[in-house]
């Protein structure tokens, strides 16, 4: 099955990973199943429960990606402990006796879900970005602004091979798998293997990513055996390790005798290390210089997300949500003060006449603003933007470096034979014109000449022939 990250069907299919988007940053990954694979005992089959209601997978499967799905009424309460245990026990018995056939029979018995009004979600096809947002955190995550820049700087393109050491949560793994597609990134988890392997299989990336588990400081990057293993022939390396300088000795053009270099001998190797502390980066760079890496540079990526809002200020905003009740101009402030003053005066006068028999209590305060505006609420106020409340102000220092391809005396000699150094045929400053262009110019010159001749010979002749000539030229050029 092709990975849903790379090629997807038009519809959300059974057994495919789907990302259920509740809100911008709330995404729940789930694998769509037409049966209750975790055996949770819902009548509707597999159900994903969210803050906005329950979503039986039968309402998700077969929908076009991007569909808005309404929550269903799912009986979460009555599958209480005792009952579900009993159900499970029954099912276990059933499974013990009859296996496949029983499953088949069970499917139609699933209850059809009834829609509820508790909320909705959108079922999205997986992308590395959405996955990064949703992924179960294991270690520090490499977020989109960082990995997008890293992959771009590492020149990772279809067909490349990437080594990733310290796969952590796997966000970079997914993004680089997408970038290389028919090459593969190699992933080295230095610590515990964690759940990455299973995850990659679930996502259909196991043909693209080869996950290995080892201590790269000691054992390097060869596939299989650390000493005699096959070279992955990497074009790009990403090290998300606590001490990247210890791993650099395994990324050289001339490894110890008997070993292969882990790098692709026929292309430059691009390297990036990802370290949160300056000391780590400094030490890495010092080692890089010793090991002949070139174009060493260090950057940090600062990313911000912006919230867009309409800020409404004015005394006419009473009762409007999110608006600030405050004068919007000096004139409005003056008018408000004036009207307050008048009212105060009215009250004072009213009070002084309290004892008189014809005293009447003053009417309730009239609203300061009476006129209604035609502008709909969504377009009122000034459009503003500000950074989102929580910023990631530092992720890590990214150190980039390049190691040119291997180049021997022999290679150089071959090149010199093929391209003799002293050979110069054209002076370099002659303008380079293509044959076609030259032809066209010659044709135009010819046409002009003929035109002149014609003009001098007989005036009334129309220029039909020239036109034909020009058309012919155009044909030629388009044919080319």
């Amino acid at each position: 099955m092709p990975s849903p990250f790379l090629t997807r069907n038009a519809l959300a299919d059974t057994d495919s990973l789907a990302l259920l988007q509740l809100r911008r940053d709330q995404i729940i990954p789930t694998i769509l199943r037409d049966h209750d694979d975790e055996n949770q005992g819902y009548w509707e089959g597999k159900v994903t429960n969210t803050r906005f209601g329950s979503f039986p997978h039968s309402t998700l499967i077969g929908q076009p990606w991007g569909s808005q799905i309404v929550a269903s009424k799912v009986d979460t309460g009555s599958r209480g402990r005792g009952k579900s245990a009993k159900r499970k026990a029954e099912e276990l018995d059933a499974e013990a006796t009859t296996t496949g056939a029983e499953d088949e029979k069970k499917k139609p018995s699933l209850r059809a879900p009834v829609s509820a009004d508790s909320g909705f979600l959108h079922v999205l096809a997986p992308t590395p970005e959405a996955w990064t947002m949703s992924l179960p955190h294991r270690t520090q995550v490499v977020y989109t602004p960082d990995y997008s820049y890293i992959l771009h700087r590492l020149r990772v393109r279809p067909g490349c091979t990437v080594i990733e050491a310290g796969a952590g949560s796997g966000s970079f793994t997914h993004a680089s798998a997408r970038a290389v597609f028919n090459g593969y990134p190699e992933t080295d988890g230095t610590t515990k293997r964690r759940r990455l392997g299973k995850e990659l299989r679930d996502h259909g990336l196991d043909g693209i990513v080869e996950a290995t588990h080892r201590d790269v400081y000691e054992d390097g990057f060869l596939l299989g055996d650390p000493k005699t293993g096959k070279s992955p022939k990497a074009n790009a390396i990403f090290l998300d390790l606590p001490a990247p300088w210890l791993a650099l000795k395994h990324l050289v053009r001339n490894p110890p005798p008997g070993q292969e270099s882990a790098l692709d001998p026929e292309s430059p190797a691009y390297l990036c290390t990802f370290s949160p502390c300056l000391e780590q980066a400094e030490r890495t760079i010092r080692t890089m210089r010793k090991l002949s890496w070139l174009n060493i540079s260090m950057v940090e990526v600062a990313q911000r997300r912006l919230d867009v809002k309409r800020d409404r200020i004015g005394l006419d905003t009473e009762g409007v949500r999110g608006a600030t009740l405050f004068p919007k101009t000096v004139e409005e402030a003056v008018a408000k003060l004036r009207s307050d003053e008048q009212r105060a005066k009215l009250i004072r006068e009213n009070r002084s006449t309290r004892d008189q028999p014809d005293h009447q209590p003053i009417a309730k305060e009239t609203a300061f603003y009476n006129e209604k505006t035609d502008i709909p609420v969504y377009a009122q106020g000034r459009l503003t933007h500000r950074s989102e409340p929580d910023l990631r102000t530092h992720t890590s220092y990214l150190v980039f470096a390049i190691l040119p391809r291997a180049w021997s005396e022999d290679d150089e000699q071959k090149c010199r034979e093929q391209w003799p150094s002293a050979k110069v045929v054209r002076p370099d400053n002659e303008p380079k014109t293509s044959k076609k262009q030259m032809k066209r110019e010659a044709a135009i010159a010819r046409a002009k000449l003929r035109e002149q001749q014609k003009e001098s010979e007989e005036k009334p002749q129309p220029e039909s022939e020239d036109k034909a000539e020009e058309e012919k030229i155009e044909e030629e050029s388009t044919k080319a």
């Binding site: 790379l6 090629t7 038009a10 519809l11 809100r23 803050r51 076009p64 991007g66 569909s67 808005q68 309404v70 829609s115 909320g119 959108h122 999205l124 992308t127 970005e129 989109t144 602004p145 820049y149 890293i150 771009h152 020149r155 393109r157 279809p158 067909g159 490349c160 597609f181 028919n182 074009n235 292309s267 430059p268 400094e282 210089r289 890496w293 540079s297 940090e300 600062a302 990313q303 997300r305 912006l306 919230d307 867009v308 309409r310 969504y378 390049i402 180049w407 071959k414 010199r416 391209w419 150094s421 002293a422 050979k423 045929v425 054209r426 380079k432 293509s434 044909e475 030629e476 044919k479």
Partner: protein
């Protein structure tokens, strides 16, 4: 992958002054680097990228005039500039507090310290060999106040002089990242909309642009990897996306320099005879004929401006048929997309001439006929395909109003397809984000429902007033997100690590992105208000329940 310098290829040459030059490497010519000297192109053809060459004063008997500067040598310099080269690392005299003792207190702010006169330096330049190394050494020697300099300022001084006099250059592969930097640093940045590396990366990732694989389009699947791009950067965005899709570089497959015997492809296309009898015609790939892994460019004028693609061997005026972009890059004008029948190329089908009649025609007429037929079929196919939509992503970097682009394009996207809009400045994108605000979405849904309830059964609902009020349909794009990113470069030297002191200003660059969704036709009631509020109290989640506010 860029493994070696190919003949006919564009490369970037970085000079000692940090200047970048884009040069096409044509065999048997001389490459001139101005005051840094010149060399014959054959000396670098076939050689690896990222090598630094030094131009020697005299060539050897075979005519070689270039010397490869080894990495150790390059770094020896860097380390010298660090003030710690050649084991002088701890040379900086420090006082009790570890502060460098030599300071710039005694340094006079005048030009008298350098004892060599201008004439003498000119003389040196004429005489001195060693590619400028001698000049730098002499300059250092005759600087009267050299011992007053701190190690830091000495390093700076050496570096400055080195940049001026050393005849070295580095050959870099011309890829999208480098081209973007070149356009910003050396050219008019406005023309490429000041698009920086970090944004190119972000656009590609949020746009989910990738190679679509070689999987057969099976049942229930649609052709994948079809991206719509609106690009007014002269082709930079198209090139960046093509790079991600693996269709930018013509030579990605063959890597061995010794086996490469081809004439450069561009020359091959030119030298092909364009007329005369050609019986054994090879089947030429029809332009824009690919069905998967394609880019469709939508352009405002009759031709798209993709001039930057020439650096990658694809000239739109004189396309090279072997280049992958020839088949994978399609272009439609906005008019063809919105109103194809106004376009004569699309609407006027050239009449079909029967075969026997055709055989009697003159050769040129016949070619013209085939040319016109082919062009019409191509335009028709591309336009129809574009109008049918189902694109896998939309990438926009345009001078047009973004809302007007999205109004037309978002309905043409497949479900879950991402939309990315880049703009150098924030204002247009803030407006765009507001077009998709929750308040507007709610108002849109309410109005739509109102109109629907007014119309009688079975009758088509007149939604024109709705589309008048709302430029874009705010219900088919979620979640509207606006972001920006900037990379900060650092200087890393022992004891002197800090962010670079100066950098480039200009436009910050912003990205708007969202995903194409399909709203449900069901009437969604309030999202469980009571329960929600109770939940709020127990959990500490923020209260900005944007999507839930969609009540009716």
């Amino acid at each position: 992958m860029h493994s070696y310098i190919r003949p006919g290829q564009f490369v970037a040459i970085r000079l000692q002054s940090d200047q970048l030059r884009l040069i096409q490497i044509i065999p048997d010519t001389v490459v001139n680097l101005g005051r840094f000297g010149s060399f014959t192109a054959n000396q670098i053809i076939g050689r690896p990228f990222y090598f630094t060459f030094e131009i020697l004063d005299a060539c050897d008997e075979a005519g070689n005039q270039l010397r490869v500067v080894s990495a150790t040598e390059l770094h020896a310099e860097t380390l010298l500039a660090d003030g710690e080269g050649d084991g002088e690392g701890d040379d900086v005299e420090t006082g009790e507090n570890g502060i460098p003792m030599r300071t710039n207190r005694q340094i006079n702010d005048e030009n008298s310290s350098q004892k060599l006169t201008l004439e003498e330096i000119e003389e040196l330049k004429r005489e001195a060999g060693g590619a400028g190394k001698d000049i730098v050494a002499k300059l250092l020697e005759s600087h009267s106040a050299i011992d007053q300099k701190t190690a830091f300022s000495l390093a700076k001084y050496t570096l400055r002089k080195r940049k001026k006099y050393l005849k070295r250059f580095t050959v870099l592969p011309l890829d999208v990242g480098l081209l973007a930097n070149y356009l910003i640093e050396e050219r008019d940045a406005q023309k490429s909309m000041e698009l920086r590396d970090e944004h190119i990366g972000l656009i590609g990732c949020w746009g989910n642009v990738h190679h679509s694989g070689n999987i057969e389009v099976g049942e229930g699947m649609k052709p994948h990897g079809r991206y719509a791009i609106v690009d007014e950067t002269g082709g930079l965005v198209v090139a960046a996306m093509a790079e991600r899709m693996g269709i930018l570089y013509p030579h990605d497959a063959d890597e061995d320099p010794t086996e490469e015997q081809d004439v450069p492809a561009s020359n091959a296309a030119e030298s092909q005879p364009t007329d005369g009898p050609q019986k054994s015609r090879r089947i030429r790939p029809q332009p824009m004929s690919a069905t998967t892994n394609t880019i469709t460019v939508i352009h405002p004028y009759s031709q798209p401006n993709l001039s930057l693609l020439k650096f990658f061997g694809y000239d739109t005026n004189n396309p090279d048929e072997s280049h992958p972009l020839h088949t994978h890059l399609k272009s439609i004008s906005w008019m063809q997309l919105a109103d194809p029948n106004s376009d004569p190329l699309y609407a006027n089908e050239p009449p079909i001439i029967p075969a026997e009649e055709l055989a009697e025609l003159k050769q040129s007429k016949r070619t013209a006929y085939y040319h016109k037929r082919n062009r019409w079929t191509r335009v028709k196919a591309v336009v129809d395909e574009g109008r049918a939509g189902n694109f896998d992503g939309l990438i926009v970097s345009t001078l047009l109003e973004p809302a007007s682009v999205l109004k037309t394009m978002v309905p043409l996207l497949a479900g879950s397809a991402p939309v990315v809009v880049y703009s150098p400045t924030v204002e247009s994108l803030v407006e765009l984000a507001d077009m998709y605000s929750t308040a507007r979405r709610t108002a849109f849904i309410n109005k739509k429902r109102e109109l629907e309830s007014q119309s009688s059964e079975g009758e088509a609902v007149d939604l024109s007033s709705l589309h008048e009020e709302f430029v874009v349909d705010p219900t088919i794009l979620l979640p509207p997100t606006l972001q920006t990113s900037r990379v900060r470069p650092w200087q890393v030297l022992p004891g002197r690590t800090h962010p670079l002191m100066t950098g480039r200003g200009g436009a910050e660059g912003y990205l708007f992105h969202g995903v194409r969704v399909f709203p449900t036709t069901q009437n969604i009631q309030a999202a469980g208000n009571v329960r929600k509020r109770r939940k709020m109290e127990t959990t500490s989640t923020p209260i900005s329940d944007r999507d839930v506010e969609m009540t009716s």
